[in-house]
């Protein structure tokens, strides 16, 4: 599938490295087409359990991950990388509407035509879920004609069973080397994956197939979010 021209693509995830696994080749494809891409990264990933090798400390991890994200951003040729500095793990407990407000401000500023974030209910990590909710709450406040196309990443075990095949499957094989470099930039978090990817075994093959062939997105109808909110 070739990518459609967009005015601006906005990526919203909570952690440095969330972009690397599932969407970094898509970001690079857009950048190669000349489409501006902004990554809004809500935390510095300061509460990660992987604190580097040799291990750094809980107090230094945020600096390491921030620098890794800046390098990954450079490799992807991101138009803009924005950090919001929320504490990792706490997004779901933040003041109601605060993160939505940040995202809404960004939507007004950038007027993206495609938005990439997580799929609510199918993204495993509580920070991912909180991000998905804030993003959808923000998009719901835009006038219908101003809303970007929502293309969301799902990776819960129930994903295929419940949601079926992703509607957008972007071929990224040509980006294998560059995506590998982006993953490597996040070394404090991806060390084990990089070892797996280099293996000449079934584990290696599965990892390469998962990350270097296609990047998958589900289309999401904001009306579903607006209509179902009251039932939650």
């Amino acid at each position: 599938m070739t990518l459609k021209e967009e005015a601006h693509v906005l990526v919203v995830f909570p952690h440095p490295d969330d972009e690397a696994f599932g969407v970094s080749a898509t970001i690079m494809k857009y950048r190669d087409m000349g489409v501006p891409v902004t990554y809004a990264c809500l935390t510095y990933g300061d509460m990660g359990r992987n604190i580097g090798n040799p291990p750094s400390t809980r107090e230094d991890l945020w600096k390491i991950r921030k620098a890794e994200q800046e390098e990954a951003g450079r490799l992807m040729n991101l138009s803009e990388l924005k950090f919001y500095g929320y504490r990792d793990k706490t997004l779901e407990f933040e003041e109601k509407g605060k993160i939505k407000g940040d995202v809404l401000e960004l939507l007004h500023e950038l007027k993206p035509t495609r938005l990439i974030s997580f799929y609510p209910g199918y993204c495993v990590h509580p920070d991912h879920e909180a991000t998905a909710e804030a993003v959808l709450d923000a998009v719901a406040e835009l006038a219908p004609e101003d809303r970007p196309t929502l293309t969301l990443v799902a990776f819960d075990k129930r994903t295929y069973e419940d949601l079926g095949e992703p509607q957008i499957q972007t071929e990224v094989r040509d980006y294998t080397d560059r995506k590998m470099k982006v993953l490597s930039a996040h070394a404090s978090q991806t060390a084990q994956l990089l070892i797996d990817l280099s293996k000449d075994t079934q584990i290696g093959e599965l990892a390469r197939e998962r990350w270097f062939e296609k990047e998958n997105f589900y289309l999401y109808d904001i009306e579903d979010w607006i209509n179902n909110k009251g039932n939650k």
């Binding site: 509460m47 990660g48 359990r49 992987n50 604190i51 090798n53 040799p54 291990p55 750094s56 400390t57 809980r58 107090e59 230094d60 945020w62 504490r87 793990k89 495993v124 990590h125 509580p126 920070d127 075990k157």
Partner: protein, 121 residues
């Protein structure tokens, strides 16, 4: 100073250094947010407490040998802070005394940190 394997004498003397004065602590135990995603058998429990002001009147390191190290802090109001699973320590450039438990795969499993100033928000 880099994180180093726990040295009992040095850690005990550091615990004594921060005793009997107002300090902030960061306490954490984690098996990772993905623990139960990766393995259905895992019951995912964890905690972190950050920037909690305390004063402790006794601070003691125990364990070692075949056990992970543990620290108990007896507070001036009779309360307690207890953390087990500690293996490494350092004091960083901000004078933050950091104890970490690094598990067999190199990941952070436990932390007790003590500082005279607040930790980063």
């Amino acid at each position: 100073m880099k994180l180093k394997p726990l040295d009992e004498k040095k850690v005990q003397s550091l615990l004594d250094e921060y005793k009997n004065e107002p300090v902030y602590i960061h306490v954490e135990v984690t098996n990772g947010v993905y623990a139960s995603h990766n393995n259905d058998e895992v019951f995912n429990a964890g905690t972190f407490l950050r920037n909690i002001p305390i004063t402790y009147t006794e601070g003691t390191l125990k364990g070692g040998n075949n056990f992970e190290h543990r620290v108990g802090l007896k507070l001036d109001n009779g309360g307690w802070v207890y953390v087990t699973g500690l293996s490494h320590y350092t004091v960083n450039e901000n004078d933050e005394f950091i104890l970490h438990g690094i598990d067999h795969s190199g990941k952070l499993a436990a932390a007790l940190e003590i500082s005279r100033k607040e930790f980063k928000k």
